[in-house]
């Protein structure tokens, strides 16, 4: 078990190193920082709800920046290894393919965690500059955003195990968006009179992770209003959502590993 963890860590460390040396990543960081600067400006334009606008924009920047980074890195994570043939020198070592998949994912998760941390720091700096209090709800929102980013990353890795980066990117982006719309799909199931809408919505709900759970502002979750500006959900909810996310991540990585195990590298 310890040996297995050592191998996974070796792959993760390498994936982290790869991402850190990728200049695209610095572009994403710059974009999110710009987003936060915009939040300062846009927040100032709002007379009555400066705090809400500033928080929402800051969190949106973290969520969008993190999610897009997860997709950009994730879709090429396994595919590029095969295309560039770098995998030959690695898989021929005493490394199980699932260890490779999990290691690559963990390396990416580490990068995303650092990024979400950086985005959060930028947001806190922006909020402090605006004189907006950084409530505990913001922390809960950040944790939920982080969970969502990690699930999106697992979706991207899953598609990367058998598809090209372009298609994987499309699929992952589609699933991210659909996952955000689960309340609308549930509403469609509840209210639709057309059988096919009911069937399609139900099927989609079954195979798409409920990313709306991690959505943090201005929405209703299980009948409760969820907002970082008012009565936010408690840590119990955050924990439940995190477990939900972890199960999806585990499931997606198992599927990616099974697909990857069957592949011939030619």
């Amino acid at each position: 078990m310890t040996a297995s963890l050592g191998r996974i860590w070796a792959v993760a460390l390498n994936a982290f190193r790869e991402a850190v040396r990728n200049r695209v990543l610095y572009g994403v960081v710059a974009l999110v920082l710009i987003f936060n600067l915009m939040a300062v400006v846009v927040g100032a334009l709002s007379i009555t709800e400066q705090a809400r606008v500033a928080r929402d924009l800051g969190l949106a920047g973290t969520s969008i920046g993190g999610g897009l980074t997860a997709i950009v890195i994730g879709v090429s994570l396994l595919y590029t290894e095969v295309q560039k043939r770098t995998i030959y020198a690695i898989i021929s070592k005493p490394l199980a393919r699932w260890e490779f998949v999990v290691g690559k994912y963990l390396g990416m998760a580490l990068v995303l965690t650092v990024l979400v941390g950086l985005f959060t720091l930028a947001m806190v700096a922006m909020l402090s500059y605006r004189g907006v209090a950084v409530a505990g709800a913001v922390g809960q929102a950040v944790v939920l955003t982080w969970c969502e980013v990690l699930v999106v990353a697992a979706i991207a890795v899953f598609f990367s195990s058998f598809s090209s980066p372009f298609l994987s990117g499309l699929f992952a982006l589609a699933l991210w968006l659909i996952g955000r719309l689960t309340p609308d799909l549930r509403a469609a199931v509840a209210t639709s009179e057309a059988g096919w809408i009911d069937a399609v919505s139900s099927a989609t709900l079954a195979v798409v992770p409920d990313l709306h759970l991690f959505s943090v502002s201005g929405r209703a979750v299980d009948g409760h209003h969820v907002s970082v500006n008012g009565d936010f959900v408690g840590w119990g909810y955050v924990s439940t959502a995190a477990v939900h996310g972890a199960l999806w991540i585990a499931g997606l990585l198992v599927l990616a590993s099974l697909i990857f195990r069957r592949r011939d590298f030619v």
Binding site: A89, I91, K93
Partner: protein
């Protein structure tokens, strides 16, 4: 116990979408004994690389069996004791050679001090000491090949598998690889390598296998495989350019073929031809004998004969 034991190995690739079946190996069997340098020969698409990919776990075996040091293939136990250099090695180009070897050492479960010790020794051994601070993207083809060799040796393997290790290298690079292979053999390691460069194979290998069309056609020691009888004799004579044409014609008539170059006459005498008679005649016309070279069958002759007999030899050309 054989270091590599391959029995009736079959590999069939299935193309995506159309599900077309492309046979690459059609029942390959051979064994490599401890301490041997074993050459695996074959034209493009013969199945050499596919065999190697099956052995190192990059491709699944369709049928048959393979074992490395008694461990079934594929298995972690088999890969634990082998070092592998892929054809045209591609590595993470953002790493330095030290970082690459550290990654390799981690995958074999070596501790930090051991990783560092082995990496330092191997980097010096393969002559990359001056390039160790550079990322691999700045390396030349030869330097990458040497980095790959160091990566293949990081676990001090009992078996080293090299896929076309001399491919694309200049004469100096080829000599370095040859020296390294011999050094490993002297250290008691078993080396299995594929190559197109028959002169290297002939000079390095204890035994060879010739694979054509996904099947082994010959296996054994190079000198046992080739025909020891004389094929023909090449004779080179020094003969003045103004020598009488009838004298030149008389001498040339004793050979199966002849070629005139400034100051010289080259003849090939068929096996069983009277070379002494030819030489006496030549001397009688004032020629000097420069060289008499009996020619035997070479590994290359055998190789080309096998390929021709198989109608080109490619099994799964695209797949290798």
């Amino acid at each position: 116990m054989a270091v590599i034991a391959v029995t009736e190995l079959v590999k069939t690739y299935v193309t995506p979408f159309r599900r077309r079946r492309v046979p690459a190996l059609r029942g390959v069997s051979f064994a490599v004994e401890p301490g041997e340098v074993f050459g695996f020969l074959g034209p493009n698409g013969a199945g050499k690389t596919t065999t190697i990919r099956c052995l190192v776990g990059l491709c699944a075996i369709t049928a048959g069996r393979a074992e490395i040091l008694g461990a079934p293939v594929p298995s972690r136990a088999a890969r634990q004791r082998l070092g592998f250099l892929p054809e045209h090695p591609y590595f993470y180009d953002y790493l330095t050679v030290g970082e690459l070897l550290d990654l390799g050492g981690r995958l074999f479960g070596l501790d930090r001090s051991e990783r560092r010790r082995r990496a330092d020794r191997l980097i010096e051994r393969v002559g990359l000491g001056r390039g160790r601070a550079l990322p691999l993207k700045k390396y030349s083809k030869g330097m990458l090949q040497r980095a790959g060799l160091a990566m293949a040796l990081i676990n001090d393997p009992e078996l080293i598998i090299l896929d076309e290790p001399m491919s694309g290298l200049d004469p100096v690079g080829r000599k370095e690889i040859r020296d390294l292979i011999l050094e490993q053999r002297d250290a008691g390691k078993t080396v299995f390598f594929s190559s197109h460069i028959l002169s290297d194979v002939e000079s390095l290998c204890d035994r060879v296998a010739i694979c054509v069309g996904g099947q082994i056609r010959d296996i054994g020691k190079p000198r046992d495989l080739v025909d020891a009888t004389t094929l023909d004799v090449e004779v080179t004579l020094a003969l003045a350019d103004d020598a009488p044409a009838e004298a030149v014609a008389a001498i040339a008539a004793r050979g199966a073929s002849s070629r005139r170059t400034p100051g010289e006459l080259h003849l090939v005498v068929a096996a069983g031809g009277d070379v002494d008679d030819l030489l006496a005649l030549a001397r009688g016309h004032g020629a000097r004998v420069l060289a008499v070279t009996p020619r035997h069958e070479t590994l290359e002759d055998l190789f080309l004969r096998r390929v021709a007999a198989a109608g080109g030899g490619a099994g799964a050309e695209v797949m290798g």
